[in-house]
């Protein structure tokens, strides 16, 4: 219990604000100061905050597109293989490659694969389900789902410095700044 062999590494510094406006102001101040590895936590979704954080559009549409194309090719290829190569069969004198008949299944598999890529890709990109997050170690962080706004500067940021970053955050009108242990 006591005397851990390793000092807990720091995930970052979290600053607390009591409104959306002060939070956005702080994000802008910190970005101007050169910080990039940061994330904000608000009690409700806010487009203004994600805009301030300069969220990049996600790669999810590309993943869904690729999933759809793979699904389409699978659907068509499967039927072509079954009907024209593996078990060629004369159905009412129609050609073995009766492609018009295969479009419905091709279409369905396109949708199916695209839908699966959307769900699985979403989970892969956002890292959910995530039962543990270092921020939970900060007791006051529970208020993020009530009425407080948090900004976390992560220690992976090249500019991160325990003293300097804390000073920057306080200068940006943070109510409180806490260490986040991993």
């Amino acid at each position: 219990m006591n005397a851990p062999t390793t000092v807990p590494t720091l995930y970052g510094l979290v600053a607390e604000f009591d409104g959306e406006k002060p939070l956005i102001h702080a994000i802008e101040t910190m970005r101007e100061a050169g910080y990039r590895s940061m994330d904000a936590y608000t009690p409700y979704p806010s487009h203004a905050v994600s805009d301030a954080l300069d969220f990049k559009t996600s790669r999810l549409p590309l993943i869904v597109l690729i999933g759809g194309i793979v699904g389409g090719l699978t659907g068509f290829g499967m039927q072509y293989y079954f009907m024209a190569i593996d078990y060629p069969h004369n159905v009412g004198g129609r050609p073995l490659n009766s492609w018009p008949m295969w479009i419905p299944v091709t279409f369905e598999l396109t949708i199916l694969f695209a839908a699966f890529s959307a769900v699985l890709g979403m989970l892969a990109l956002n890292g959910l389900p995530m039962p543990y997050h270092p921020l939970f170690n900060v007791e006051r962080f529970a208020l993020a789902s009530r009425d407080r706004f948090f900004l976390c500067i992560e220690s992976t940021d090249p500019k991160f410095d325990l003293v300097e970053t804390r000073r920057h955050l306080l200068a940006a009108h943070a109510k409180e700044v806490s260490d986040v242990e991993n």
Binding site: P61, G92, G93, R94, P100, M101, I103
Partner: protein, 433 residues
């Protein structure tokens, strides 16, 4: 791309309206000449050009009724434009007169000589006869115009003095009106398009036509809105989200069109019955297959791929370009639907058509029992007549002139509508992401 070379909305309409009138005059003069020189071609080209514009008007009415039922800001943004298209149904009722006069040049079943040699058409005569056809046409136009004028008059009253009760009543009446309208457009599609080849039948065809009407109506509404939004006093009212919604609807109509077109083709292809396949044989041989490919690539594949992208839908200039592609292809689609029917019946049983032995491979797959129906495959290859262009100009000129009058005569914004006020107040960028 961002700098628009065209003038913005109100001035643009002022500038192009005289051209529409000029096109109408040139088209009318050439059309009269054609009527005298070659009545067959005149009436056939007339029907083609007429249906291009009629179908946009009918489609606009469908979208208006749909929006009354579903709600949605996208409908408020283009309501005035759609109403202007729907009001053109009155003009189209008048322009129907030449079709009524020249029916025997257009429809094989209206040609007594032809019917005398065709036992099947004699059996169908209880529906396909001249007087019943004209009565039905009158009913379609009365119902359509009644709906269009009712929608317009309710909106004029709302503009003067908004009432929630009236709004709800409009919604209540739009349901039955849409059902009635669906019946009208289905029978109109059978009468004016399917009966061009009176032996052929397809139960999905009226739905296909219904979708083919909404797609160009939506495209023209979007294009018109982009020109209005180019005006700085109007543009900021239309948020990126609203453009996105409109683009998604156009994408839905593109997909619905492809779905209906392919469903009809698949059923006929897999059934492989001569009386059904003949419709496609006429449309995939003799050069018509080029148009079929053009339709697949540019009426479905290209708009489909482009409209998947958010950036395309959210940029008014880009979505305007896509709308222009769709409108162009709408014209080609009607050419491919309607024109191959003509000529197939010019010589019902008599002299063999020229170049009859050069049928493509498709016909070889046909069962031997095809018999007399196969005679009809001899259709002239892909060709256009100068009257096609003349009457397209003429009817298009009249339609466009009246449409421009419609969108100039009334305010384009629905400032009085509470949903629109709500949107302008705080919805513009936060609704529906």
């Amino acid at each position: 791309m961002s700098a628009t070379t065209l003038p913005t909305a109100p001035e643009l309409w002022d500038r192009i309206q005289p051209y529409a009138l000029g096109a109408a005059a040139i088209g009318a003069a050439l059309g009269l000449l054609g009527w005298w020189l070659s009545p067959d071609h005149f009436f056939q080209s007339y029907l083609w050009a007429y249906l291009i514009f009629l179908n946009i008007s009918v489609g606009s009415l469908t979208i208006l009724l749909l929006n009354n039922l579903t709600g949605g800001l996208w409908g408020l943004a283009i309501r005035r434009i759609l109403e202007a298209m729907a009001q053109n149904l009155l003009v189209m009722a008048i322009l129907f007169i030449p079709i009524a006069l020249g029916m025997h040049h257009i429809f094989p079943w209206a040609n007594a000589e032809h019917v005398a040699h065709d036992p099947l058409l004699q059996k169908k005569a209880s529906y396909l006869n001249v007087s019943f056809f004209l009565i039905r046409a009158a009913i379609y136009f009365v119902v359509w115009n009644a709906i269009a004028w009712h929608l317009r008059s309710v909106n004029i009253r709302q503009e003067r003095d908004y009432s929630r009760v009236r709004d709800r009543r409009l919604r209540t009446i739009s349901g039955p009106a849409l059902v009635l309208h669906g019946g009208m457009l289905s029978f109109a599609a059978i009468d004016w398009m399917m009966s061009l080849e009176p032996h052929w039948f397809s139960s999905i065809f009226p739905v296909l036509v219904g979708v083919s009407q909404m797609l160009p109506a939506m495209a023209l509404a979007i294009w018109t809105l982009t020109r209005q939004a180019a005006n700085p006093s109007f543009g900021p009212m239309i948020s990126k989200t609203l453009w996105n919604d409109l683009g998604n609807l156009m994408l839905a109509f593109v997909m619905l069109w492809a779905y209906m077109s392919f469903s009809q083709f698949l059923l006929i292809w897999s059934g492989n019955l001569p009386e059904e396949t003949i419709y496609y044989l006429r449309r995939i041989e003799g050069g018509w297959q080029v148009l079929a490919w053009v339709l697949f690539l540019f009426y479905f594949a290209l708009p489909f791929v482009l409209l998947l992208s958010r950036d395309m839908k959210r940029n008014p200039n880009r979505i305007a370009a896509i709308a222009c592609i769709i409108l162009t292809l709408h014209v080609i689609h009607h050419f491919w639907l309607i024109q191959p029917s003509f000529g197939a019946h010019e010589t019902p049983n008599a002299s063999p058509a020229p170049a009859g032995d050069t049928k493509g491979h498709e016909t070889k797959k046909e069962p031997q029992t095809a018999g007399e129906t196969m005679e009809d495959v001899h259709t002239p290859g892909l060709r256009a007549h100068w009257l096609d262009g003349a009457l397209f100009l003429g009817i298009g000129g009249i339609w466009s002139w009246s449409f421009l009058r419609g969108i100039r005569s009334r305010r384009m914004l629905l400032e009085w509508d509470p949903a629109w006020q709500e949107y302008l107040a705080h919805g513009r960028d936060s609704h529906g992401h």
